[in-house]
């Protein structure tokens, strides 16, 4: 119980900071704006394509909104997450160290794990809010479309984006513990995320075992099925273990820095 209360106190504090400063508003604005742009591009493309297929009646079947509009948006937003998540994580620990407030947290009856979890959950919560705000765009599809999209791929797509971003957030939390300069933490995070992203490019069926492992570690590949609406346990487990690993590193780092200091 105290653990939950402690974590909640940290989350509340971080959210106060996010929304008391431009960070949350900028992130929300950029995210929903890009979401809207990608969505409207996808939609106008879809409308053109439907008009063309309607002429060639031999297809006889309507195009899927899920496939042509929603899925590409999710993929594009994953790229946006690559840029925005460092913004959410870079100051988490770096700023506490610079301000000397880590001394307050570290001498309060909190465990290091509670501090790490509180900060991770605060950033992930804001990120989830961003995705949800973006998804509002899709609401009009249900409202206006004669054959509304399936909701299931939207739900799993949301989960995919969430888990994918949470991996970066966990790693970013760790990187933020390494320095007292949040800009350094942000740049390091971005570079590392980009590196992990490119691992996914090694995904090729003709590759040898080493490249298969590399490709497996690329966080993007595990999104594919989920965005299509197929929720595979192995993908969820991959993401959860990735997140757990990032948080483990963050926890070790916070603890060992105090021990070595």
């Amino acid at each position: 119980m105290t653990a939950v209360r402690n974590i909640a106190a940290i989350v509340e504090k971080e959210w106060r900071h996010y929304f008391g400063s431009p960070i949350a508003w900028v992130a929300l604005f950029v995210w929903t704006l890009l979401f809207g742009i990608f969505f409207s591009f996808g939609l106008s493309f879809f409308v053109k394509q439907s008009a063309m297929t309607a002429q060639q009646m031999e297809f006889g079947q309507k195009l899927s909104l899920n496939e042509y509009v929603i899925r590409p948006v999710f993929h594009n937003m994953a790229v946006v997450a690559l840029f925005l998540t460092p913004m959410l994580t870079m100051r988490l620990f770096a700023e506490e160290k610079r301000q000397g407030t880590l001394e307050l947290l570290a001498t309060s009856p909190l465990t290091d794990l509670q501090i790490v979890l509180g900060k991770f959950l605060a950033a992930t919560g804001l990120y989830a809010l961003m995705i949800l705000a973006g998804l509002l765009n899709l609401a009009m599809l249900w409202h206006y479309s004669t054959t509304p999209p399936e909701w299931k791929p939207v739900a799993t797509g949301f989960l995919a984006l969430l888990l994918f971003g949470a991996c970066f957030i966990a790693l970013g939390t760790f990187l933020s513990t390494l320095t007292r300069n949040q800009i350094v933490a942000g740049i390091l995070s971005f570079c590392l995320f980009l590196g992990i992203w490119t691992l996914g490019w090694a995904d090729d069926p003709t590759n040898g075992p080493v490249m298969k492992v590399v490709a497996y570690l690329g966080v993007t590949n595990h999104m594919e099925d989920m965005v299509k609406g197929v929720l595979e346990l192995k993908d969820v487990i991959f993401y959860l273990s990735f997140i757990a690993f990032g948080l483990f590193l963050a926890h070790q780092s916070v603890e060992s820095q105090r021990w070595r200091a």
């Binding site: 105290t2 106190a9 106060r16 400063s21 301000q99 570290a106 001498t107 309060s108 465990t111 200091a261």
Partner: protein, 326 residues
């Protein structure tokens, strides 16, 4: 309440705290005194479970800082050297956050915050952002944060730094008022502060404890090393000549005196009372002895004495001030 046993902290090859031992009883206020870089902050950080000791043990409120840090932290209020504040928070929001992480139950939270605001006189700035506060007010928010959850033990690193004279007095009163119910360790460079607020002083220099006693005892016991002030009717040079011949006199410093008078500060070897000898020598020399008085060493002088010279250790040992390390 606080037991420190052979505490050592090394940063790489540099020893910041060197087998420091002391005890603080429940309700006592202990002053921690020492020049810059003496190791005060380091010791306090170890007691607050922020840094682990390299060697030695420390128990706070009955719990070992290394083995049961969570139990220690529950009972501890800590004001670090730089007050740990979030500049974008309002004072009350900040105190509310601190109350939560210190585990103050919800129904007591409001009352505790009001109490801390009243005690630290933060009423005027309660809805101001901490980032906009002046240094003194920030220090007071730091103090409010430390006493907020009414902890058994308070560790205050330079609690009055940055305060104006009126605030210093009020803060000292506040700290004095904390004694009895709370056990307090405070560090400072300001010696009168120790005399006014602390029941006992630990003087630390280069990581080692050089003296530990009540402020009164420290002053009294080191008086042997203080100077004697002498006023004599007669020619200065001639009197000085006579004084120098007295056994036990180390040095003579002339002081300004009126026409036909001579005045000196006489330094005697530690632990020797040369007053009788001086008086006799003056009278036998045919001069008129007008005054002979002892100039007590101020805490400042004792402090300088103990922390700046190697001879200080011997001086301290010669008087019966409790020597903890030599």
């Amino acid at each position: 309440m606080i037991e420190v046993e052979g505490l050592t902290k090394r940063y790489g090859r540099h020893t910041a705290v060197d087998s420091v031992s002391f005890h603080v009883r429940k309700g006592e206020i202990l002053g921690f005194l020492g020049p810059n870089g003496a190791g005060k902050t380091t010791t306090m950080r170890i007691l607050a479970c922020y840094l682990p000791p390299t060697e030695g043990r420390a128990r706070v409120a009955g719990f070992d800082v290394f083995e049961a840090p969570l139990e220690v932290k529950k009972r501890l209020g800590y004001l670090p050297e730089t007050p740990p504040l979030y500049p974008d928070m309002e004072v009350t929001t900040f105190l509310d956050f601190v109350a939560k992480v210190k585990g103050v139950p919800g129904r007591e939270r409001k009352a505790r915050i009001e109490d801390a605001i009243a005690k630290c006189r933060l009423g005027e700035v309660r809805f101001k952002r901490i980032g906009y506060l002046s240094k003194g007010y920030r220090q007071r928010v730091g103090l409010a944060q430390a006493i907020l959850h009414n902890p058994d033990v308070l560790i205050l690193d330079e609690p009055t730094s940055g305060l104006d004279p009126k605030q210093i007095i009020e803060t000292r009163d506040l700290i004095r008022g904390l004694g009895g119910d709370h056990t307090v360790i405070l560090s400072t460079h300001i010696l009168p502060e120790v005399e006014m607020t602390c029941g006992r002083v630990v003087i630390i220099s280069k990581g080692k404890v050089v003296a530990e006693d009540t402020p009164g005892n420290l002053t009294r016991r080191l008086q042997g090393a203080g100077a004697l002030r002498l006023e004599v009717l007669g020619n200065g040079a001639a009197v000085a000549e006579v004084l120098r011949g007295v056994p036990g006199v180390l040095a003579i410093h002339p002081r300004p005196a009126g026409e036909g008078l001579a005045a000196f500060d006489v330094e005697a070897a530690a632990g020797q009372d040369v007053r009788a000898l001086l008086a006799r020598a003056v009278v036998q020399g045919g001069f008129g002895l007008l005054g002979l008085s002892q100039v007590g060493m101020s805490l400042e002088e004792i402090f300088l004495h103990l922390t700046t010279t190697d001879a200080a250790l011997e001086t301290g040992a010669a008087s019966d001030t409790k020597e903890v390390s030599a």
